[in-house]
Subunit: 276 residues, 2 copies
DNA sequence: CCTCGCAAG
DNA sequence: CTTGAGAGG
């Protein structure tokens, strides 16, 4: 339960999405020190790359409610959600194999009380880790299948009128502004026309919103930089980590930024403040 | 060809044996910086763990003659001999499978000239990497088989009257003085009675000499420390790296020490000076 | 607990 | 180039 401020009737919710590229690695790089002072209320992680028996005290800071959704394969994939507010429920997976066995989707439901006299309402924050297609044709085929399956659920959520924030590593660049080297990557996985069209479908057809772009419509900012070469130093990046939100969240986006002052991973935290 | 000093009629030869636990790793830890100033004439390495295509300039300092004897399996086993003096010949392997396919034995022959009027003579310096038996019964069985095969060659060399220095990681402790924790390791591979008896056979029956003990009969010094726990810091070690020499070298040992001031590997260099 | 090769990103 | 598993030590 999240109680709104009784005076203002409003409350700010800071939600963070980050592909940690190994929660153990990110921990060693000071991720949890940053998190403590980040002001985050809810954090969606991807590529946690650890199983429950490897999820230690050092990965479980005091004052958080935490949920881990792990892959069957050790050291691979996985998502997690950490929250300052208690979950009212948690759901792992979406009922298709590659998603469920690889821990690529987990969703937390929260209940907001508007005050003692109100019924309140619920919303969902999900952590999604879309497969990479960059290692070859088979990987791309698996990614495409995942996109297809995923679209069914995005459509259903709209039909149900669900209030949802789907944070994640989508492994897809949306538009030219979202990547440094647009021309050179036209044929690379993550920039393929049918992948970008999939995002168009979410936004233009289903009405979802790229929350970062609500607040920053024109800035060229990235959320991922290759580890090869000097990509980070030269800011040769891609924006592939998003908060995809149902339409009811559009007018609630108060602030959005990508945190680049420290580096915990090859991805940067995408931080968005929402007015509840 | 090694020319003796024409005035004194003698020459010192510094021979080093070291298990480098990955020549690339040892290189990163400054092994070649040390080597340059070590005064070594001949260096026998074990566990080089690289194949010819991975043997780069950084592993080939100027002023040395070098020979690599690699395992078929990448990143595994292998021996090498580096020398300030040219080899007159090189021989890899000893004709049994585990030795030859894993690059566990290589021998360099040197020719010494006593002066313009003499015929001179030859001697052999070999680098031997005996298998570890510590990973289980099968590994121990392979080690035991290796010991058996190896004994044939040690015997033949004596029958041939060969002048030889067999440097190497023998993975066997000889006596109580050669290990810190004698009692606790009685049942562990490397300290087993039949392994130690094998060394007795070399020394007592065949007449080989543990060159280090010629110069240091009573010191408790080790050549290997486990990476686990605080073994190095607490000097909890084993002496398992030897110069096993034919009897003609006994009276030529001038100095012997194990170099512990720097750490290039889990093994330390065993340095012995011989009078030619 | 280290080194290396490997799969995956 | 990086993470992590796994073999081997």
């Amino acid at each position: 339960m999240i109680a709104k401020d009784l005076n203002t009737g409003a409350k700010m919710l800071r939600v963070v999405s980050i592909n940690v590229n190994g929660l153990r690695s990110a921990t060693a790089k000071g991720f949890f020190q940053w998190l403590e002072n980040s002001g985050a209320d809810i954090v969606c992680m991807q590529e946690t790359r650890l199983q429950p028996h490897q999820w230690l005290e050092e990965h479980k800071p005091a004052g958080w409610h935490m949920h881990l959704c792990h892959a069957e394969k050790p050291g691979y994939s996985g998502t997690a959600i950490y929250s300052r507010h208690p979950f009212s429920s948690i759901n792992n997976g979406l009922g298709f194999d590659i998603c469920d066995t690889q821990g690529r989707f987990t969703a937390a439901e929260f209940y907001i009380s508007d005050g003692p006299d109100s019924e309140g309402k619920t919303f969902v924050v999900a952590s999604l880790y879309l497969p990479s297609g960059s290692s070859g044709d088979e990987a791309q085929a698996r990614k495409d299948l995942f996109l297809q399956e995923m679209l069914v659920h995005f459509r259903q959520w709209r039909e149900q009128g669900k209030s949802i924030i789907v944070c994640g590593d989508y492994n897809i660049v949306h538009k030219e502004i979202d990547i440094k080297n647009w021309k050179g990557n036209q044929k690379n996985s993550g920039v393929l026309p049918h992948e970008r069209a999939w995002l168009d479908t979410l936004y233009d057809e289903l009405g979802y919103v790229d929350a970062f772009r609500v607040h920053r419509p024109d800035t060229q900012e990235y959320s991922w930089w290759s580890n090869r070469g000097q990509a980070w130093a030269n800011n040769v990046g891609w924006r592939i980590d998003y908060h995809v939100v149902s339409p009811d969240w559009r007018n609630r986006v108060a602030n959005a930024f990508i945190y680049r002052d420290e580096r915990f991973s090859d991805h940067a935290p995408v931080v968005i403040d929402y007015v509840l």
